[in-house]
Each structure stands twice: as C-alpha cells, then as structure tokens.
C-alpha cells in the first residue's frame, strides 16, 4: 500500500478541524479555562478535576466520540487523520475532559474481537477510559496488577486517565486465558477510585482498586488488542501536544511583539527571536510526523508502529522545549500563576511521559532501526 501525498486530509477533515477550533474557542477560551481549573492558587490543593460536563452532549452530538468507531458498531469510521485534526485543536484549547480517553478506549475496543457492544455504548455517548498501568508505571498491559476470576476483578490499576470524568472502564486483567479485557461502569460495586493529586490542572488521573467487581469480558486477546491500538494512542497524544505547542508558540510570539524593553519589542532581540524560531521548527517537525503517523494508520498499517513511535518521541521532546522556552521568553510574568502559560506547561509535562516518554519511544525505535542488542 502507498500513502496519499496529502496524508488523506481531505475537505471533511479540514471542516471537522475548523469546527472543533471554533467550538473550543467559543465554549472554553483560555481566560474561562483558567477561571475554571485554576481559580484557587494552592500548591497543596487536591485536584478537583473541574471540566465543562455540560458540553459533553454537544461533543457527542458532533460525532467526536464516535470518530474512530467503525460504522458497523454505530460509529463514523473516519480516518485517523481526522482524529489527529480534532485532537490538535483539543490540545490547542488545553481542553479538560474525557474525549482523548474515550477515543483511546475506542481504539483498543476496535482492535478486540468482541468490542462491538462496548463500542456501541461509546457511540451512544458514554465516556470511557483505560485501566491497564501498574504502580511501577509500566505501559505494558502485560504488567497489569489486576486479575480476573470468573468475571470478577481484583487488584489496582494506576495512572488511569480522567477517572472522575469517564463513565466506563476498559480494564486489562490477567485471567485464566492470559490477558483479558473487561468492561464495566466506573461506579459499579467493588470499584473504588482514589484520585491522584497531579500537577496538570486540565487533566484528571487516579488509581482504581477493584474488589471482586463484576465486569463484562470482552472477547479477544488483550495483548493483541493493546498492541494493535497503541500506535493510535501515541498519535492521539502527539496531536494534543502539537496543538498545545502551537498555542505556546503563538502566545509567546504575541508577547514578544508587544512587550518592550530597552525601547524595543522583545522579538527584536535575536536571543529571543531565534529561540522562538526554534520552537516553531520543532512544532512543525512534530506536526509533520503526527500526520505521517496518522496517515500510516489509515493507509499503511505495517509502518504505523514505527511512525507513531517517531511522532510521540518527537512530540515529547518538542513539548518539553516549547514549554521551557515559552516561560523563559515571557520573563517574570511567565513565572506567575495569573499568566495562562502554566496551564499548557503542566499539560505538556503530563503528556510528555504519558504512554511512554521520548527516551522510551526512541529505545523501541532503536530496536526497529538498529536491531536489538543481544
């Protein structure tokens, strides 16, 4: 198979991206986002996971949660590049909510043999998230600390994303057959949620302990489903980071155009100008690798894993760089709580490590490109 030169990003994708941008700008511009999630400056505060739950029905109505669900399961079956465009705008808005977690869950379900029933629930508007990481922070579902016996789950899943915002859980659990997938309501009996206190104010995270919780088994091999879906998950995060990186760039550029020192705008000084150009080139590299990976998911799946590793590795490095430079180039104001930069700085730091940091992805790439070390 070969890839279309335009990444398969057609008019439909452009329209979706454009409408997403307008939706986020209208319903949660950054000043209102800041008022919502950062109202009370307090380093010791417990995360309250604030979001605009009232916007969820509209997002469902727009079809966003069903983008990656096959038409046979009631979804829209749109290409991954459409999802990339949506998540880019999601990241640009630093939008708090379970959209990315729900899309990620739908990718794993779509890769499982028996995911249809759960996918139909998502297509009907249910939000969902994945529970598969161990306390040690392994993103290999085979390391899960949750076990299943006769359809009852026990053990603890850590680093669960958006647990207070998601209505359904897809759990990786060791069972009689190996690694199985299980589907249940987040508020089902035997499910106890302990929210994490996290740096990122636009996200929610927690650990979920199962105590003989009754769950619906999803037919299929859990290893295979996660393995097949992970490139799409990395693509989702890379898209969010690229959008957030572009916001960091544009916001810092605007500041460098208006703020004056020594009677000149900051951007006159090459020490500032050149840093901003470096942020731009990093954002662009990550964005090109993002659409390359998304297009491969649609058209050249045999290359998608490698290209998605590249996209996430690049985006993680870019996010660290853009975050650091955006605060540094703002000077003192960029170091304050009242400046909106910290929302993106913290979101990027969270995204950087989620589902594998840059070094982890490069190590996987090294095995692919240079061979494994005996």
């Amino acid at each position: 198979m070969t890839q279309p030169t335009n990444f398969g990003f057609g008019d439909e994708c452009a329209l979706l991206k454009d409408s997403a941008r307008k939706f986020f700008a209208e319903h949660l511009p950054v000043d209102r986002l800041h008022a919502l999630v950062a109202a009370k400056p307090d380093a010791e505060a417990v995360s309250d996971a604030a979001w605009r739950e009232d916007l969820w029905p509209a997002m469902v109505e727009l079809g966003w949660t069903a983008l990656a669900i096959p038409e046979s399961a009631g979804g829209l079956g749109l290409p991954a590049v459409a999802v990339a465009g949506l998540l880019e705008e999601h990241g640009r808005a630093a939008f708090p909510g379970p959209l990315a977690a729900t899309l990620a869950t739908s990718y794993v379900l779509a890769a499982a043999d028996g995911g249809t029933a759960a996918l139909e629930e998502i297509a009907a508007g249910r939000s969902a998230t994945l529970a598969f990481a161990s306390a040690a922070g392994s993103w290999d579902p085979g390391d899960t600390a949750v076990t299943a016996k006769g359809g009852r789950l026990s053990g603890t899943a850590c680093y669960v994303q958006e647990p207070r915002k998601a209505e359904r859980l897809l759990v990786a659990a060791r069972d009689e057959a190996g690694l199985g997938l299980y589907w249940l309501a987040r508020d089902a009996a035997g499910v106890a949620l302990a929210p994490d206190t996290i740096v990122d104010l636009t996200r929610d995270q927690g650990r979920i302990t199962f105590d003989e919780a009754v769950a619906e088994p999803v037919a299929g091999n859990g290893h295979a489903a996660f393995h097949a879906a992970m490139p799409a998950l990395w693509m989702l995060l890379a898209a969010d980071m690229v959008g957030a990186g572009e916001w960091q760039l544009q916001t810092t550029v605007e500041y460098a155009q208006t703020r004056k020192q020594f009677d000149r705008p900051l951007g006159f000084f090459q020490a500032v100008k050149h840093q901003l150009v470096d942020v731009m080139t990093r954002v662009d590299e990550s964005k090109s690798l993002l659409y390359n990976a998304a297009c491969a998911l649609d058209h050249e799946p045999e290359k998608a894993r490698q290209l998605a590793h590249m996209a996430k590795a690049s985006a993680s490095a870019m996010a660290a760089f853009a975050s650091g430079r955006s605060v540094q180039c703002h000077g003192g104001i960029g170091f304050t709580w009242e400046c909106y930069l910290h929302l993106y700085f913290k979101r990027q730091k969270h995204s950087e490590v989620l589902w594998g940091d840059g070094a982890w992805h490069r190590a996987r790439l090294a095995d692919m490109l240079l061979g494994e070390v005996a």
């Binding site: 990003f9 090459q270 100008k273 901003l276 080139t281 662009d284 690798l289 590249m310 070390v373």
Partner: protein, 411 residues
C-alpha cells in the same frame, strides 16, 4: 498511481508519460567519473562535461525548462516542471550541473530582463551549455548583503565595473554571472543595481577568477575580481537602483519560494557518491567495533542515531505537508525552514558520524584505513559550507522570525 498523478491535468498526464518513456531509454547510467556530493562542488572538467551532457540531453527531450515560453528556449508548458522533476527523481538521475543558472539566474532573467536578452541567454542556460555563477557576497558584505561595494560607473551607454566578489561557486567554469553591485554610493538599498556580465570571455580582460581553498583542502568556489570591466547597458536587469528588489527575486527562488519551479533531477545512487544520512550512520555504527560488539550496541549512540532518523523523516514530511494548504498555518512557514533544517541536520549527522567512528574518525581521504574512505570528516567539514552559504543559519532564523512569526526586524 500516486496522489500527484491523480491530480494531473491532461497536459501533465501526457507529459508524464513522455518523461517516463524518455527516461527509460535515456538514463545515463553509472557515471564514468567520480561525482562530487553536489553541483557546487564540481571540480574537474571531466565531471562537468559528463553532467553537462546529461543536462543537455534532458533539455533536448523537454524535461528541463519546460514551463518557460518557447521564445526563450523553453517548452511552453503549464506547470509541467514539477512533473518532470518527480519523474527524474523517481528514475534516480544525476543532478543538473547548471544549478545556479536554473535556480537563481533563470527566474531572475525571466522576471526582470528585456526580451532580447532573455531570448539570447536563456536557451543556453537551460540546456546547460552556458554555466552561470552568482556575484553577491563580498569580503565586506556577507550576511549584510546590501552593503556591497562593487561599483559600476556610467560612461555613456557603457558601464565600467570595479570590485571583488567572493564565495563564487562554479565561477571557474562560468560563462555568465548574475551580479549585484552599486551604482550610487549615497543610498544603501536604492543605490544597488543588478547586471548580468560575461565572465569567461572577459578572463584576463577585466575579470580574474581565483580559487579559494576550503577547510577541507578542496577547491570549489572562487573569488572574482573586476578591474575596469566594460559592459553594455543592455546587460542591466530592471531599472537603475532596483538591484535589491531584483536580488530578492533571486533569493526567493534560491530558498524555494518562487513561482517558477526550478528544474531538479537527482536521486542517482552511484557507488561513488556519499552523503551524511542516518542510513549511512547506521552502516558506520554496525561496522565499527566497540567493546565486545559494535557501536550500534552502545545505548547512548543508539539514542542519538535514532534522533537523526526522526529528524530526517520529519524533514521529508515537512516537504510533503508544505503541499497541503489545509495543514499549514502560514504559506511560507515550511518552505523557509528547509534550508536551515537540512543544513543543521546534515551537520549534526556528520558530527555524530565522527563520534561513532571514534579514533578512526581521525583518518582522512588518502588513508587506506579511513572508514568510508574518509568521507565522514570531509562531510562534517563541508557541512559548515551549508550552514553559512546562502544566508547563514542566523540569517535564516532572522528571516523566519520576521517574515513568518512577524517579530520586529533585527536591523
């Protein structure tokens, strides 16, 4: 069928078939001489003649200059150079030697010269029979290009030129030069004018070309000295005092942002060619002993080699994305990054090659034990040519910051 083929106009589709048929029969094959890494490093007559024969053949077949009007020696086609370039790349052809002529002089002539001058000069430029060079930089005018001091004094319908140009690639083979000079000393920008001048026919009669030796020990570029060279006023492009605007046309096309698509062939994988790529880096690492294994087993080097693979892929995908308007925030944003990114990527890859090679990186071209024949240290040293020439990386960052990001001008 590729996406670009699907979008071919009827003219482009027909032309594409023509290109493909011709290339199948007429690919020049393995070169009879050792080719340099790029056209601006052509050093010998045999290299030049072999490459000129290729350009002439491609021109005669209509693959070079096809978008220029027939009256000036072109093919009179619409948006077909893109197609020819794609097909020449796909057929892995050698590069075209008249690179400054095609990429810089031709579009400048096309937009700014009088018709008779175009009709006289463009055919032999496009065919590669006349090699062109560029007289912009001077000892005192590098990044600050508008401070050139080469001066033309008016005597009736003639001009008398005195001055000193440097870093002039291909001047030792060039028939013609595009020349930015000063006709008025009282205005920095508005005192500049733009000429084309004969070089080869004036050697020893007002023009001296001397090779400059690079840090690698190779020649490749030159200094050109003008002493009372007389040229006719008909060799002036555009109006007197408009030299800076004309030069912007040249630089725009040099940086890949012009209207006219530059004829470009390439992709030839000759046994004798080398470039500092991530693939070559991998080969070097896998062939370099380190401890019980090879350098490709070293975890720190693995991480850094992978970085180079990622950057290479990103640059290719930038090129691809630059043709998708829906995925761009600014029309020039990706095009203007290309020169900066490709030159710094090559430099970093070459530098990493030296680290991978370890002690063997000290061995140079004539040493029989040198890895890859000493091409890694050669490529590393030559990489500074790329990060300095045609606007240093610092100037590129100024251009990007000012034109794309809209930051205040640093001058």
């Amino acid at each position: 069928m590729s996406e670009s083929e699907r979008k071919d106009s009827p003219e482009q589709a027909e032309f594409r078939v023509h290109c493909r048929d011709w290339l199948r029969e007429n690919h020049p094959g393995e070169p009879s001489v050792r080719l340099p890494q790029s056209a601006i490093e052509i050093m010998t007559e045999p290299q030049l003649h072999w490459l000129q024969a290729w350009q002439k053949a491609a021109y005669d077949a209509g693959l070079v200059g096809c978008d220029y009007p027939e009256a000036v020696g072109g093919g009179g086609r619409t948006d077909c150079q893109r197609v020819a370039n794609e097909e020449m790349q796909a057929a892995r052809t050698p590069f075209l030697p008249n690179v400054i002529g095609l990429g810089m002089a031709a579009p400048t002539l096309f937009y700014h010269a009088q018709e008779p001058l175009k009709e006289r000069l463009l055919p032999r430029l496009l065919s590669g029979e006349d090699i062109w060079c560029q007289g912009f930089s001077e000892p005192g005018a590098g990044s600050d290009l508008a401070s050139v001091q080469t001066f033309a004094e008016r005597r009736g319908d003639r001009w008398v030129i005195n001055g000193h140009k440097v870093w002039t690639s291909l001047a030792h083979f060039a028939e013609w030069m595009i020349l930015l000079l000063r006709t008025d000393k009282s205005h920095k920008y508005d005192g500049l004018s733009y000429f084309v001048v004969p070089i080869r026919s004036a050697l020893g009669k007002g023009v001296t070309v001397r090779p400059l030796i690079k840090i690698t020990g190779e020649t490749g570029f030159n200094e050109v000295i003008f002493e009372d060279l007389e040229v006719d006023d008909s060799y002036r492009l555009d109006e007197l005092g408009k030299g800076w605007q004309v030069a912007m046309t040249t630089l725009l096309h040099e940086r890949g942002g012009g209207e006219l698509v530059t004829p470009r062939s390439g992709g030839l994988t000759a046994k004798t060619s080398f470039s500092p790529t991530a693939r070559n880096l991998r080969t070097l690492a896998q062939e370099t002993p380190r401890g019980d294994g090879t350098a490709a087993d070293d975890p720190l080097l693995r991480d850094r080699i992978v970085h180079q693979f990622i950057r290479e892929e990103a640059l290719q995908q930038n090129q691809r994305r630059s043709r998708v308007p829906a995925l761009q925030d600014h029309p020039m944003r990706l095009q203007l990054q290309y020169k900066l990114l490709i030159s710094e990527l090559a430099q970093d890859t070459a530098r990493l090659g030296l680290e991978v090679a370890g002690p063997a990186s000290t061995l140079y071209l004539a040493d029989e034990h040198a890895p890859a024949g000493g091409q890694w240290p050669l490529a590393y040293m030559n990489s500074y040519g790329m990060t300095i020439a045609a606007g240093t990386s610092e100037i590129q960052r100024n251009i990007l910051g000012e034109r794309v990001l809209g930051l205040a001008k640093s001058k």
